[in-house]
């Protein structure tokens, strides 16, 4: 199968840069699988799990907290706000984020639009928490 170059970047460092055969990205409008020669697409990402299938068939999974992806036929770059391999994930990190979002929501000094976004973010985080706990 054709492979392409995948890069996972967080603000702190370049986490991953290798040849992969497919990547599953939790895009805002639903999960999508990116394979080689994908049409150029730009999409935002919700908190979720990125599944990377390397060229040699090895599968790694990363938890990301929002960001966006830049997909080209020749490669895919995922800019995540924060990304951690599932195996190294500290569950309290998610809990902390949920708490922080709840607190921000409770503060209630924001506009409606921002509030809906926060609520959505919270729902996504809770869902993610469920997935990780089950895993």
């Amino acid at each position: 199968m054709a492979d392409f170059n995948f890069e996972l970047v967080s603000p702190e460092r370049l986490l991953l840069s290798e040849r992969v055969s497919e990547v599953v990205i939790p895009a805002t409008e639903g999960e999508m699988t990116v394979m080689a020669n994908h049409a150029p697409t730009m999409t935002t990402i919700k908190p979720g799990i990125v599944t990377v299938k390397a060229a040699d068939g090895k599968v790694t999974r990363y938890v990301v907290f929002g960001g966006f992806a830049d997909i080209l036929p020749t490669g895919c770059t995922l800019l995540a706000e924060s990304a951690v391999p599932v195996s190294e994930l500290d569950r309290s990190a998610i809990d902390k984020r949920i708490e922080a979002t709840k607190a921000e929501l409770a503060e209630g000094s924001h506009g409606d639009e921002y509030k809906t976004r926060l609520e959505q973010f919270l729902a996504e985080l809770t869902q993610l928490n469920g997935i990780v706990v089950a895993a």
Partner: protein, 294 residues
Amino acid sequence: MPSLKDLKNRIASVKATQKITKAMKMVAAAKLRRAQEAAEAARPYSQRMSAVLSNIAAAVGSDDSAPRLMTGTGKNHTHLLVVCTAERGLCGGFNSQIARFARDHVRKLLAEGKTVKIVCVGKKGFDILRREFASLIIDRVDLREVKKIGFENADLIGKKIIGLFEKGEFDVCTLFYSEFKSVISQVPTALQLIPAAAPAEAVSTEAGATAIYEYEPDAGEILSDLIPRNISVQVFRALLENVAGEMGAKMSAMDNATRNAGEMINKLTLSYNRQRQAQITKELIEIISGAEAL
């Protein structure tokens, strides 16, 4: 003329100081290396971010759908200055350099009749700017407890700036920090955050691909999600540069201090030895002349 004992005490105290400055220099060197690594590791993200940003900005164009964070309020009246400095001193002219640069900027804006608001990041800048512009400082961010600057710290500052902007507290936001050129040279820099200076045209090696990009959701929405992120990234980069600069400045300051202490010890030792010799000679003369008198 200080007595022998005084000299001895002074030599001991200078030596103790030298030991401290030497240790601080070594600590700064180690921290500098780590800070440089962190700054380097963060580079791919900000590079790609700006590439993507200019890409989308070109797609959205300058129509009305562009988010306000990018176009600004259309006014140029109230300026917000975010001044990033270090939390600790003993790093040469590092902090005062940034503060002076920001101060000149504030004076210029005030002279033009603008309203100025200041947010201080770091204790030292706050201390310096407070003397002159205490009434203009609206907030300060304390990073003293932070061992290693993470993206969350920058994100917090970024969110604060955006919050202020949404409340209409300011029209233009400028970030002040020190760019890390090399260990011995840090250049204070001003960077306009809001309205975002139009990103310079990215080197379009993939120019062909830009035209047929598919956006999901549409480009405008991605852009409005991206720009707040970009502000945090810029702040993050500034903070990292600052840490590297601070450590560089501290290293060379401590190196100078160690060398000065060394010189001082040499001088003091010389005068100590002279005085001791003089005393011995004096005592000998007393003994000899006493013996001759018998």
